[in-house]
Each structure stands twice: as structure tokens, then as C-alpha cells.
Symmetry: C2
Subunit: 344 residues, 2 copies
DNA sequence: AAAAAGTGTGCAAACGTTCCCAAAAACGTC
DNA sequence: GACGTTTTTGGGAACGTTTGCACACTTTTT
């Protein structure tokens, strides 16, 4: 801000004290007399003194801000995670800077490096679906930037991670479809790179196995761009339909909504005949037609937990060597009426 | 970031130059020899020099960051606006800090003041539905903080503003309902404080007037909290239904989706008999049941325009005294089939 | 009564930049 | 080769903090 505000110097001059004394009074350090402290505090209050965080950051070599990278904020899951992050961060006097990768590796790297050069104290990141090479993150980490991964985590990176119980979520959703009488269950999922893709695929396979349904690789469709392009989804749907699935298990928020749109757009007549169960945190699923069963992730909580872990790393006196992988349970929200009901 | 990176000083020492020379070479000032510039640039590249933005901010008394206040990022309209803002901001080397008011005046004020103390160079804000007293914004503005309002703008505040053509959007939506044969058209809207509420009400009234339908105040329901609490919406729906509306015009994104949820939850049997037209930027409306006609705002563009105006203010050499009010056209997306069709 | 310990304050350096001002180097002109 | 002019460089202050150290003063201990 260009406009002038009062500084420690101003206060010092006005009160006939030194800047150090004023600083100490404001920061409530031990070696300061009650009297001067009161005096300074009162005056600071009067002139509405606000410490300049930039100067403080420069001096302390930290910014009290944490960076967040998600693929997209216009996504119910991520925006809920962000709310969780903020709830903790603000309490602990950190502020957050949000960046979007739009599922692009290049954009992700660019944003992370931009944030790093902006002197963030730590980073919370869910990898983009394109990301395979995380060496740039390793470099930053090695240089001392605390990083906590959430949702989409790399396998071989020793730091805190917070994820949902993806295996169980996928298993539950698939089992639900099976118990509803479906037998040809397709799986529409994200890029193969992602941890969530692998875990959810395993859950899907396990459910099939439990009910002795053969796993058919051709029923699994991967979307490299996480459904960012509608063409990608329409293509997947087009390839899937000839295999006559009676159910689809979809493994991410964006894909789930995107898939229903694609189905209705390209094949409205079959859209209602296929049961859909998918990961989504949309609070609007009840409005959807065809209706769907959804796996809800504890997004808000995930944000909170990840932030607590990150702040503990930031504020740790010595390098952290013990890392946690927190796994949070998902919730299966079954649709209220029978599958494919047009009258919902 | 705690870890050490190379600084101008390091480069200067290594190259046997002074910091001023290095700084000039890096910043590509006119008074520097081609040769030294090349030398410095090459070395900087080699050691992967990154200017410390904090130090720069302190010196230049600006942060190259702009603050954004919206009520909620988990809202299609606002997240699209944010994408528009980012698209311009990043091009111009600003970064953005997003804050959410959650439709609370207190939270909004807190966030703005937090941002201001964080030395943002300018502010983009859509007021919360609770906000009536904007004197705190006036104070900051008077002190020199550039502010541009978008979407929800105050009446008596001389600065740039970017809004949608709310009157026309509301008129079109209401007229569409009338032309579909509806005669008892309710209006569910936001807090009366908001500019958008007033403008959209006028559009609604104008459409009624055009077709000689009497305006009935009891058909208008205000939601003070913008639909943040579902109870608020359910209450409004409950009060509206006895008046037997055959159409509802809803004036905001959150209210529109929220209202359909409330309708289906409280009165599923009538939900499909009422035609709904509402403001929303959801890309999922096609999935909704009951289906609805939507007024889409040019959210992305709104963000872009607002950001351009803000940056022009920030970078203006002399105080800006001529202000613009940009009004962007909305788009009416009619539902594909007849109103209330359960088979959509 | 002198020494030791404790308390409150100020001085000055540092964080990494930018930029004003002056000094030095390079160049041209007579 | 002395002079002015232009180009290039360096010195150092400043931005607003925090903090190690030293100093002065008071209180306690011996």
C-alpha cells in the first residue's frame, strides 16, 4: 500500500523512546517495564498502528503465509478443502495463497515456483493429473520448504500426507452398484499417474472380486486431463457404451458431474438406464437426474488436518523426520430411490 | 522461506561489482553496459537467482498483489470471476490473495483489513449480503487503496464498478416465465441491501408490467444471508407455496440451487409443477431436476474487466478521477423442453 | 561499602532491495 | 594532452522491522 501508516519509528519519536523499546513493548517481550508497555500500547492503539508485515517478513525471513495448489477451485471437493485449510490457518495467524494448476503440470510447476519465490513458509498441494515428475518439489523440499500433500499424493516422497480412504470409498460404491443388481460395471477414472486413481481402482477391483465378477480392463477408462475437456469425457463415454454397462463407478468430482453431462448430451435415451456411483462433494447431487450414489470425502477435515501438519512442520525447532499418513474415512450417500428412477 | 538463496549481494561479491550495478543489470535499466549486463545475467542464471519479492516490496512500498473478497469460492459464479481475475493478474505480474466473507459483514471487514495490512496494492470486492456500512472501505480508499467493485456494488462510492446487466437479465428471465404461460411468478432474492437485489427486482417488475401482471409484494422473499443457511431457504419456500406460484424467478446462484433443494426436500410433489428461472453460473444446470432456465453472467469476463480497471488505478501516475461503470450482458439459457418436464 | 545480580533501555546492525548522488572511466574535440 | 561530455560504476541511505549487545541504573548479596 502506498499510503503512509504510522511505524514503530513514529511511535518511538512521539514517545521519546527507542525503536527497540517500542518493538519490545508491542511484541510483549519479557524485558520491558509494565509502565512503558502500557504507554506504548495505548499510543499504538490511538494511532491505529499496524505492524508492517513485509518488513517483519524480511527481517524474520518468513512470511506467515502458506501456499495452496489445487487443480481447480470451482470444484466442490477442493473448495471445501480450502475452507478447512483457512479455518486452521487464520486461527494460527497464517494467511493462505491459493493457486490453480488447472490439471496442467506446467502450470502447477510455475505456480509452485512463483509461490516459493514469494516466500511462503510452507506448501499444501494436491498434484495435477498430468504431474509425473515431482523433482521440482523435491528440490524445494530439500532446500527447506515444508510440504504436505493431500488427496493426490506421490508415492515416494517422505513427508506428511493426508488422504481419504480411497480404497474403501471405491469398494463401497462399487459394492453398492453390485448389490443393486448391476453386473457390468464400468469404471471411469482420472489419469493413471494419480495416487487416487490407483487406490480407487483397487477398491473397485476388490468389490468385483468379492462378488465373483470378472474384472475387465476394457471397462476402465482413464481421463488424462481429469475431465477438464468435455471432449475427453464424451470420447470415454462413447467408447464405454458399446460395452453395455449397467453401472458406472466414477472416481472424481469433476468426472462424475462431467460424465452425467456427457451421457445426457450424447445418449439421453440410455442415460437413465445406467446406475452411477461416483466420488463427488457436490451438495447438489440430490438435484441430479439421473440420480446417483455418491462417495463424499471429508474435505473440510482433510484441509484442517493437512494444515495442522504443515504448521507443525513450519514451526518445528528441528527437522521433522517422522511423517504421518492420515487416512480419513469417506461416506457413502446412497440415492434415495431405486436406480434410474426418472421421477425422483 | 528459511532456506538461503543467492542474493544480489552474493552476485556482486562473486563478480566484483557493486550491488547497485547488479541490481541495474538485473532490472535492465538504461545506464548499464551491454557487457556487464550479459555477465550479470549469465551468472544470475547460473546460480538460479530469484529476486526476493519481500525486500522489493519493502523498498518499493508495494506488493504486486491484489486482494479479492467474495462471499464464497464454492460458488460457480465467483470461482469463474476469480479465474478471470487471475488470467489478467498473472499476465501483469500480480498475484492474488483470495478471501471469503461467507456473507458476513464482520468477516468481510476483518478480511479486508487483514489484506490491507498485508500491503495489497489494490482490492477487488463483491460485498457480502450483510454489508450496509462501507465506511471502513471508504477509509482505506481515502488513504489511497485502489478499490474496484464487481457484482455487488455500493451506490454512493466513486470508483470503478463492473456489473452484469441485472435489470435485463431479470427482465428476460421473468418474461420467459410469462411467455411459458406462467402468471403467478414469485421472486426469491437476496438481502435487500445488495445492489443486485434492487436491480433484479426492477427487471422482474418491469417484465410483469409489460404483460400487465400485477406486482404483488408478498410474492417477493428476501434471504438476508444469501441462502447460506438452508433453514432460511426452507422458510422462504414454505411461505411462498401457499400463494400457489406457478413460476419462481430467483436472483442468485446460491439461492437458485438452494431453492430447488429446499423445494424437493420440503415439497417434492409440487417441485416439478413450478417453473424456475434463476441466476446461476452452474455448468450443471442441465442435470437438474426440476430443470430450470438460467441467467448466466459473464463471470470470467467480469473478473477480467475488473482487474484491468484495478491495475490501471494502481499504476496510474496521478489520482484517478474519472470512473467507469461497466455493464456486461447476461445470457438467458432456456431449458430445452417444456417446463416441469419430469422426463428431461 | 564494594561487588554481584537484576532490570530496563538504547545503539546499531541486519534482512535484500532500489535509487540518488558522486566518482571514475571512456570518448571525442580542439 | 587538456578539456568537456557521455557512459558506466560504486557508495550508501532508505524501506520497517527484530534483536544481540552494551550501558545505566537499581536492588540484592557478601
Amino acid at each position: 500500500m502506498r499510503f503512509e501508516t504510522s511505524t514503530i519509528k513514529d511511535i518511538a519519536k512521539a514517545l521519546g523512546l527507542s525503536t527497540s523499546t517500542v518493538s519490545r513493548a508491542l511484541r510483549d517481550r519479557y524485558e520491558i517495564s509494565e509502565e512503558t508497555k502500557k504507554l506504548v500500547l495505548a499510543y499504538a492503539e490511538k494511532v491505529n498502528y499496524r505492524a508492517n508485515p513485509i518488513a517483519r517478513s524480511l527481517k524474520e525471513r518468513r512470511s506467515y503465509s502458506i501456499g495452496i495448489i489445487v487443480s481447480e477451485i470451482a470444484n466442490n471437493f477442493f473448495s471445501q478443502v480450502i475452507n478447512g485449510i483457512e479455518s486452521i490457518a487464520y486461527d494460527r495467524d497464517y494467511h493462505v495463497i491459493i493457486s490453480q494448476s488447472h490439471e496442467s503440470y506446467k502450470q502447477e510447476k510455475l505456480n509452485v515456483e512463483h509461490l516459493a519465490s514469494r516466500s511462503i513458509d510452507g506448501l499444501l498441494i494436491a498434484l495435477s493429473s498430468e504431474t509425473q515428475d515431482i523433482s521440482y518439489l523435491r528440490d524445494l523440499y530439500a532446500k527447506g520448504l515444508p510440504i504436505v500433500f493431500f488427496d493426490r499424493v506421490p508415492e515416494d516422497f517422505e513427508t506428511h500426507k493426508v488422504i481419504a480412504n480411497n480404497f474403501k470409498g471405491a469398494f463401497d460404491a462399487t459394492e453398492h452398484l453390485i448389490l443393486s443388481g448391476k453386473r457390468v460395471i464400468a469404471h471411469l477414472t482420472n489419469s493413471e499417474n494419480l495416487s487416487i486413481t490407483k487406490e480407487r481402482l483397487k477398491g473397485y477391483q476388490a468389490a468385483l472380486a468379492k462378488y465373483h465378477i470378472e474384472f475387465k480392463p476394457e471397462l476402465v477408462k482413464y481421463c488424462q486431463h481429469g475431465g477438464m475437456h468435455s471432449a475427453e469425457l464424451e470420447q470415454a463415454v462413447k467408447e464405454l457404451l458399446p460395452l453395455k454397462p449397467d453401472g458406472i463407478f466414477i472416481s472424481s468430482d469433476r468426472l462424475t458431474t462431467g460424465c452425467i453431462v456427457a451421457l445426457k448430451k450424447t445418449n439421453p435415451e440410455v442415460a437413465h438406464k445406467i446406475a452411477i456411483a461416483g466420488f463427488t462433494n457436490s451438495n447438489l447431487v440430490e438435484l441430479f437426474s439421473p440420480s446417483l450414489t455418491s462417495v463424499k470425502q471429508p474435505a473440510f477435515e482433510m484441509g484442517q488436518v493437512a494444515t495442522e501438519l504443515l504448521i507443525s512442520m513450519i514451526e518445528a525447532k528441528r527437522p521433522v523426520t517422522e511423517f504421518e499418513i492420515k487416512i480419513l474415512d469417506t461416506e457413502l450417500v446412497k440415492m434415495q430411490k431405486n436406480i434410474g428412477n426418472r421421477f425422483l
